[in-house]
Structure formats: structure tokens, C-alpha cells
Subunit: 240 residues, 2 copies
């Protein structure tokens, strides 16, 4: 697997990202955009693990950018996760719609840039992002119809951008796999189910497991990778 | 794929069944018990299709027996599905616990008989049965700890045997995949979710799709087959 650091410039914004591809071979190939969770980054273990699974298991490229106030968007020494979370919560509360718009723009510019690379090209595109990766990702999926399949979840019809999420949900039209942790104390399963119900996709499934917000079982990662691979296959052939 | 008709004798009961295996090869091999739905039978299309998927895709044997007042348990000319359903509903209402006990006994005797066959043997055992296949199957899975993984669903904490189902649910301990149709008008998703919550399994997932009772999408069949294959693999190796 090849890992490349990239920056996308968008006006006065610098969008720091990572791209994972098979070591060789030209595009077009499927690409999955990975939206990391709160207090994580484009480099966090579960993001890199999902990239590895997609690249090695299915020949699918993967890319991640840092979220607002996360990763290389910060200056100075590494901050404790609780501080990053608190800063994100404050930004979400005070300026949630502008933050969402900015991240939608960053992701779309990133997608433009990545598809101009010879080993990516204009292949099928998917989204994988739960929790903060859905707070930001659901509006991205709703806004960009190049995205043909999405894994979302661990979030609900709640929070400072609730109205925005409710407005965008019917515009999500691609196949969706939506993850719910049934004992989630950050986003209760009732609001998560309500969000899934609002999605405009005809082809959608809700997959719930017992456990808290962070307790997603290992097979959920494999099953979501397979779901994306099935829907993004270049030749229309689902993987076994 | 080889298909064999069998009868198991249990006291004065004759239990009519079908067994599907790969064309050749000795046991032990994994075996999945298929509980058909109301008005169906051991021969109905979706039962045979699931058997084919398990045998051809994963080398797993499959078996089905007719439910009460269904299939070859009936005498006389074929009855219209609505009549069979009405008779089952009446039996469930008037004598639900005895009907359940009898079917649990039939399935356990069937399992004994099948495991004595040289091309089955004492391999891992799974259950696949939704709707009536859960009304009867959940008590089977709760009663027989040879069953190491189960697909259940399209049923809820409701109906004439509600108390029995509630009592048995905590005794289901194996990994479970539980299917829910969100717009189910036969068994509302609220009672279905409540039943999933009661299951004693630590490893359980609920998979919900939009649509009515009978609208299970095609990929639910493939995903449930893969779930069983992963948990019943003889060598502990999950299928790709």
C-alpha cells in the first residue's frame, strides 16, 4: 500500500490530507473518502486500518482529510483529545452551519484534486464516516452526487446542526449502510434511528449492535468495507 | 448439489424433511437448519435458494422440515396459502405452547438424525428462520446449545406465544443476526426491536431495511449466509 500526504488549497484554506492507493496501477479505480471521528485525525488508527482494508482487500483507494480544529489544521504541540473535542463542540455550537459548509467545500475540492490523479481518475466514489464523520459527511454525501454509496451512523437527528442535517437527509439518495450503537450515550439510538428514517435513499439499511458509542465490533468494519466494495465495483461484480 | 427427502419418526409423529448437501465428500461439515415462513414449506423457493447458496457458496449442508399444518404434514390436495396461514394462526392462538414444544422436539430429533449421517457428522450447526421461522426457531435455538449461530427476525415480542418467546429469548446465547423490515405491518418494528433487545447473546446485531414484511432485499439473503458461514467455519477461517 502506498501512502501519500497531500494539501489542497482552497482560497485561504489549506486542506491537509492523506491518500492510500495500491502500490501500482493506473485509474480509474474506486475511491472511498474517510471522515474521521471527533478528537481523531486523518492519521488515527481506525482510519488507516479502514484504508488498508479497502486497498488490500478490494483494490479501492482511500483518502482522509483533517476535520475542523483537528490534526494538521492545528498549530502548536499535540493537544489532548478532550481539548480537541471541546473545541469542536464549541465550533459546532457557535458556528455549525458555516463549519459544515466549509468542510463540504474542502471535501469537494479534495475529491476534484484526487480524481485528477492518474492512479485515481473518475471511478466510483464512496463515503465512510461515523459520528463526526456523519455530522460533516452526511452534508457532503447530500451535496455531491459523485458519491455513489455511503457508510454513516453513530449520530442522530440532534445537536447544533440538527436543522441542517434534517434538511440534507432527504437529499442523500445513494445506497447507505447506517451504523447504530444501541447503548450509545453520546447519540441515543432513538435519534439515530430517526436520522436513518429521514435519509432519502431507497436502498438503505440500519445495522445496530449493543454497546456504547465507541464499541463498534470488528466485523462492522469488514461488513462496511464489503458494502462499499459491492456498490463501487468498477465491473459491477460484487465481491464474494 | 444433492437433495434428499427424509422422514424422522418421533413417537407417533412423522417429520417430513429435505436435506441439501454438496454432491460428494464426508463430514463433519457445517449444517444450517432452515425454518420456513407461514404458508410456505420445506420446498418453497426461498428455502431452496438459501440451501443452494449455503451448499454452493460455502460447502455448508442445509435441511428443512415442514412446519405445523404446512407442506407434507397436510393430507389431501394442496391448500391455498391463505387457508394454511389461517390454520396456523388458529393453532398458534389455541395451542401455541404445545405447538412450539412439539416443533422444538421435531427439530432436535431431526438434528440428531442428520448428524448421524456420514456426510454431515458432528460439525457446527446454525439456524436460519424468520417470521414463523422465528416463532418456532427462537425456542429451538434457546433449547439446543448445539446451535452456534442464528439468523432470526421478522417477528416481535407479540402474539399468542409472547410469554414463551420472552422466556426463551435470554437463553439464546449464540451470535445472532436479527432482521427487521421497518414498515412491517404483520410484526411492527417496535415489537421486533424489543425482541432483539431481549436476546441473551452478547454478539448480536439488528439489520433493518425499509419495506413490508415480505420485502426482504436480495442482499439480506447473501449477508445472512455469509454471517452463518463466518460463524460456522470448520477451520475458524471466515470467508472473504
Amino acid at each position: 500500500m502506498r501512502q501519500r500526504r497531500f494539501d489542497v488549497r482552497r482560497g485561504d484554506r489549506r486542506v491537509p490530507g492523506l491518500l492510500w492507493t495500491p502500490a501500482a496501477g493506473d485509474g480509474p479505480r474506486p475511491l472511498v473518502l474517510l471522515g474521521h471521528g471527533g478528537s481523531g485525525s486523518k492519521r488515527q488508527d481506525c482510519v488507516v486500518a479502514m484504508a488498508r482494508r479497502l486497498v488490500r482487500g478490494y483494490g479501492i483507494a482511500a483518502a482522509a482529510i483533517d476535520g475542523p480544529v483537528h490534526g494538521a489544521r492545528r498549530s502548536g504541540p499535540p493537544a489532548p483529545p478532550a481539548l480537541v473535542l471541546a473545541e469542536f463542540a464549541q465550533l459546532w455550537a457557535n458556528d455549525g452551519d458555516a463549519m459544515t459548509d466549509a468542510m463540504v467545500g474542502d471535501w469537494r475540492a479534495t475529491l476534484d484534486a484526487l480524481r485528477s490523479l492518474p492512479d485515481i481518475g473518475s471511478g466510483p466514489v464512496g463515503w465512510w464516516g461515523v459520528s463526526m464523520g456523519t455530522i460533516i459527511g452526511l452534508p457532503v454525501v447530500a451535496a455531491d452526487d459523485r458519491i455513489g454509496a455511503a457508510v454513516l451512523g453513530l449520530m442522530g437527528l440532534t445537536g447544533p446542526t440538527r436543522a441542517r442535517i434534517a434538511r440534507d437527509s432527504p437529499n442523500v439518495r445513494c445506497p447507505v449502510l447506517f451504523l447504530v450503537q444501541w447503548d450509545d450515550r453520546t447519540f441515543h439510538h432513538d435519534v439515530a434511528v430517526a436520522l436513518w428514517e429521514c435519509l432519502g435513499s431507497r436502498d438503505k439499511r440500519l445495522v445496530a449492535h449493543p454497546g456504547e458509542h465507541g464499541d463498534l465490533p470488528a466485523d462492522a468494519f469488514e461488513n462496511t468495507a464489503r458494502f462499499l466494495a459491492r456498490h463501487l465495483a468498477l465491473d459491477g461484480e460484487p465481491p464474494r
